[in-house]
Amino acid sequence: MVTHTSFIPRYAVILLFGVVGLGLLAPVARREARKASVWQETTCVIEDVTVSTWKDSDGDTRHKTTVTFSYLQDGARRTASEENPSAAGSHTEAAQKLPKGTTAPCAYDPDEPGEATIDPGKVPWGLFLSCLIPLAWLVFGLMGMMAFRSRPGFDADALPVELPRRLDPATALAMPMGLTGFGLLFGAAWNGSMAWMLHGAPAALPCMALHLGAGGYLLWEQARPMLQRRKLGDTVVECSAQALSLGETITVKVVQLGRGDIEELSAEIVCEEIARYREGTTDRTERHTALALPLGSLLHERVTPEAPLVLRGSARIPRDAVPTFRGAHNEIAWSVRVKVNVASAPDRLDTYPLSVQARRAS
């Protein structure tokens, strides 16, 4: 039985957020879009404007402007009311902007008698942009699920442990960058729609373009490594044990999934010295490979989803080697290092941590 490390639950949660978010926002956005495109514009008569005032639980004074208006639909006069329409302005100016008995442009839903608005013809850009956020979650959730989908049957001669891949700095940065991207897209949606409503498109567009550009760039930066990895497929590393003792022989199986022409697939056991120190205000990390034990390599091979490329190799951890050591600033780290050179994509160098102990636990 192979212990698979799976990221699927994390991506499933992102996907779920996307589905729920779109489920909530999309119907509202669709309704608002229909208002702008399908609803019939007409002229209505202002029947009444009321401003109610109350104090909320914090003691702050709140106002609500309700405009009641009538309009002709299919020869029949109908009455509708709307709360806080932007046509009425603030509560202090509502009575002046929409005096009782005057006419104003409005629109009604031809399919839903009684559904009408005194703010006709406004495309809800803010709502559309807000939909980008759950849409992005949906896309990333789906991409993640696809990247870590169930693997083809290469488990016939599986080794007991599947090693988790160590996150490289670029991958580790992807999540905060992605979150910042989401934040900027949200900023574009929120600030842009507010600016659009209050000051019109010329004021809103530069702000939205700036946010959308920066947010889109950061999201792309997050998606790019995932897409590059997706292009070839995942690399699975299984081994006889994740915790080894000095003098022990380790057997490693590297399975390259996906599709592509591989120039070289090689694996080795490495012992690295890692030193961390601070220089001025910058934290620095230096690495030095102290020992490398080759496990084997494959040259000029083709990998397909039906026939993953499999590399098996064994190496003996020397008796006089140094075991894993993890201090706060100094480290001796053992790992399986896998290098994949592909003609049409950037080379990959992935690290799968191991633990080497002084003595096998009895």
């Binding site: 080794l159 003098g247 022990e248 057997t251 075991p323 100094n330 001796i332 102990q357 002084a358 003595r359």
Partner: protein, 132 residues
Amino acid sequence: MTLLAPRMEFGADGGRFPAGEPARGVIELPPHPPVASASAYAQWYTEGKGTPEEGPEIPAEVAPAGQGPGGAQRFSFEVPLPLTPFSYDGTIVKIRWRLVVRVAYPGHLPVTHPYHFTVVAPPDRGATPYRA
């Protein structure tokens, strides 16, 4: 009064002790002045490029061990060594071990003296190779 540093006799050849086993030896002090108390601890520490760090103090059992030549005051010590880390002389990371001896004389503040030793791999007790 000049206080001479103790002389250290590690029990192992060249001060090389297997990890996971006790490090033993003798601390020899001049006959005068008489020692009020002697204690010791073992500790690993790092050198190299990384920010230096040191491990916990592992107390040693120190006991009087009679008199040496010329009336020297002798103390035996024994300290249990952990399985890791080993002494390691790498390129950018170096791990060292030291035994710090603390001697107190009447009327004086205690003085400490570090002595370096080496922790090596424990004896091979037959690592089990993996068989698929």
